[in-house]
């Protein structure tokens, strides 16, 4: 069983939901990322989503765009990100790591080389934002060969047969984008999310993570009532940005927000 499947099974057995924080690797500087990953696990993260910086993050809002820009000042490359995961694995063998990013750095490395290097470094899954299932055939072969899960997005505008196609292609979990727009947007409509999740659940048994618009303990708790996992990105990255010139203060700030979310989510049960 993959690390991701194992974590969801164990959480389900305890009636809990997964908390999945996102940070961009190399933000605000490469040396800090591994310590942030450990701090987030200690604060209650079940899975880490690690952003691979890209020069043209088309699906991201300004907060995560600026995180990519800060990381790219230090030329944080896909190979550097894999090295960070390898370093994280020295002290943590159980927390799944999902790489989230755009296709071009993977194309440049080559699908097979990427799959092999990612598996070897201890990565569990890849969420490649700009590759829909229709274009993903070759990448999926490479990921499958190395037993990496492929996470795909489902949007509010995704309907009917397309939900089925995505769920059949995805493994690990599916990621429901809870509102129209880019990362960092607001106005979360919990009832609408619940309705869509019910529709998705009719076609798949995969756990469903919900992201976009989760900014504090209250929204995390509300979403965790209807989803299997809560993904929080821009709210954390904003804190990284605010403390970019005081890097020692970043880990405690992320841990504080995550601990609040963890507590609020667990209080549901």
């Amino acid at each position: 069983m993959s690390r991701i499947a194992a974590i969801f099974k164990s959480l389900r057995a305890h009636g809990r939901k997964a908390l999945i924080p996102y940070v961009t690797a190399g933000d605000p500087k490469p040396g800090i990322t591994v310590s942030l990953m450990h701090a987030m696990v200690e604060a209650g993260a079940d899975i880490i989503e690690l952003g691979v910086p890209f020069s043209d993050p088309m699906a991201d809002g300004p907060v995560i765009q600026r995180a990519s820009e800060r990381a790219l000042v230090h030329h944080t490359s896909l190979r550097d990100v894999l090295e960070m995961v390898r370093e994280f694995r020295v002290d943590n063998a159980q927390t799944p790591v999902v790489l989230m990013g755009y296709l071009n750095p993977i194309e440049m490395m080559g699908y097979e080389a990427f799959g092999a290097a990612a598996a070897e470094a201890g990565v569990d899954a890849a969420l490649t934002v700009d590759i829909p299932p229709e274009e993903a055939g070759e990448l999926l072969l490479a990921l499958n060969r190395d037993a990496l899960d492929a996470i795909f997005l489902i949007a509010p505008t995704t309907v009917g047969a397309r939900i089925e196609t995505i769920c059949k292609t995805a493994s690990g979990f599916v990621y429901y984008v809870s509102l129209k727009g880019v990362t960092g947007a607001s106005h979360l409509d919990i009832a609408g999310v619940e309705q869509k999740l019910n529709e998705i659940r009719r076609t798949t048994d995969l756990p469903i993570g919900v992201g976009f618009g989760i900014k504090d303990a209250a929204t995390a708790a509300a979403v965790s009532k209807v989803a299997d996992a809560v993904v929080v990105g821009s709210a954390l990255v904003s804190r990284v940005e605010a403390l970019a010139d005081r890097p020692d203060a970043i880990a405690p700030a992320l841990a504080e927000l995550l601990a609040e979310m963890r507590q609020a989510m667990d209080a549901n049960h």
């Binding site: 890209f54 020069s55 043209d56 993050p57 088309m58 699906a59 991201d60 809002g61 300004p62 765009q65 600026r66 820009e69 790219l72 030329h75 490359s77 896909l78 190979r79 755009y102 296709l103 071009n104 750095p105 993977i106 194309e107 440049m108 490395m109 934002v129 700009d130 590759i131 829909p132 229709e134 274009e135 795909f152 997005l153 489902i154 949007a155 505008t157 995704t158 309907v159 397309r162 995505i166 984008v177 129209k180 727009g181 880019v182 947007a185």
Partner: protein
């Protein structure tokens, strides 16, 4: 000239938008439904008689088509070789080929019931052409433009505002065209219900490369007929500048199966290909994925997109339309590059010898034609796409010569 043995070049792209290994749909799931809706409408109206009649009427009476083909006889004699003919897209309303596409997409937007238009722009020509049609159709219009380009192209920014468009400065990344495209995509994802995104070139996810080509192919259809009427035959060579590549594909496409016609796309070599300061992904880049399609890109070894340089803002783009990538690989078209200074020399030559001030973009095509002409016989014919007029560039040219106007 390398040619392939392919029977026809008119069967691209496939259903998913692939030109050989290029093109396709590489976007986040949040855009898939909007692209599907666009594809279905584009396929429907492409064959709809009343839509095509409305488009043709607008192209005739609003844009001023057909644009003439002009024999640059004096310049040809001076160059001492083949006869150079110019397809005068500079004479269109708004001064460039861009309006052929914005008219088409805006009419499509209207048929689809969209009330808001967005666009990206680099030099501002596509932004002006979009603001123009939005004004005429009474549609709300937002144009994204890199903060750096806004400073470089002040006059076009004012033009767009006069036309009622809101110009939004993009402060992310390199603050140029590619970042404006990213930002327009983000707007589209957020406002999908009422918004139509008019992309200005033959790049982006399917159906844009095919749709923009089909709207621009009027250039080549007219030129093919005009050359037969004026010279009794087809030209020996076609030359057009390539940034994203919409004017080039517009000219080339109707000639693709005329295999005796050589095709040259001219990229911006900037300071010279060997310096790295250029915008020539076909000549000096590698395949990758950006802005929704697979194509040749300017990128570093980590797969990050790198900044480009060209004297011409309209060619200053790190990607290129996927159909050009495919035509390059199968050998049907050849892609070459000319430097800033070669383009400037051609700008001055055409202005002084023929009394036509060409856009700096088009000056790249002219510069290559000036190299090609002396290698051909006097009875051979080169057709150059004069894609835009140069009035917008006089400040750039004057500044380079130390003149303040």
């Amino acid at each position: 000239m390398p040619t392939s043995n392919r029977e026809t070049y008119f069967n691209q792209p496939d259903e998913q938008g692939h030109f050989g290994p290029y093109g396709g749909v590489f976007v986040a799931e949040t855009l898939m439904q909007a692209l599907e809706e666009l594809r279905l409408n584009y396929e429907k109206y492409l064959h709809d008689k009343s839509f095509l009649a409305e488009l043709d009427a607008d192209l005739a009476h609003y844009v001023g088509r057909p644009s003439p083909v002009y024999h640059a006889g004096r310049w040809s004699r001076e160059l001492g070789g083949a006869q150079i003919y110019l397809k005068r897209e500079d004479l269109n309303h708004t001064g460039a080929h861009k309006v052929n596409n914005t008219i088409g997409q805006a009419l499509l937007a209207k048929r689809m019931g969209k009330t808001r238009i967005i666009a990206e722009t680099g030099a501002g020509q596509h932004g002006v052409a979009t603001a123009t049609v939005a004004a005429r159709l009474g549609l709300e219009c937002v144009v994204y433009m890199g903060a750096v380009d806004i400073v470089r192209q002040e006059a076009n920014v004012y033009r767009m505002r006069l036309l009622g468009a809101e110009v939004r400065a993009v402060e992310s990344g390199s603050k140029t065209l590619k970042d404006a495209l990213n930002e327009a995509m983000r707007d589209w994802v957020t406002n999908i219900d009422n918004t139509f995104y008019i992309i200005g070139t033959v790049a982006g996810p399917h159906p844009y490369p095919a749709m923009v080509r089909d709207f621009q192919a009027i250039i080549g259809r007219e030129a093919r007929q005009q050359m037969q009427q004026q010279t009794g035959r087809l030209p020996d060579a076609l030359v057009a500048c390539v940034g994203g590549g919409s004017n080039a594909i517009g000219l080339f496409y109707p000639f693709l199966d005329d295999k005796a016609v050589a095709i040259y796309g001219v990229e911006a070599a900037g300071d010279g290909l060997e310096t790295g300061n250029h915008a020539a992904p076909l000549c000096a880049g590698r395949p990758g994925v950006l802005h929704g399609n697979r194509t040749y890109l300017m990128e570093d070894d980590d797969g990050q997109i790198i900044e480009t340089h060209s004297i011409s803002a309209g060619l200053d783009y790190p990607g290129v339309g996927p159909e050009h990538a495919w035509l390059k690989d199968c050998g049907r078209a050849q892609y070459v590059a000319v430097t800033d200074s070669e383009a400037l020399a051609a700008f001055h030559a055409l202005t002084r010898v023929e009394g036509i001030i060409p856009a700096l973009e088009s000056s790249h095509a002219l510069a290559y034609a000036a190299k090609l002409a002396p290698t051909l016989e006097r009875d051979q014919i080169i057709l150059v796409n004069l894609s835009g007029r140069g009035d917008k560039d006089i400040h750039t040219v004057a500044a380079l010569e130390g003149i303040e106007i």
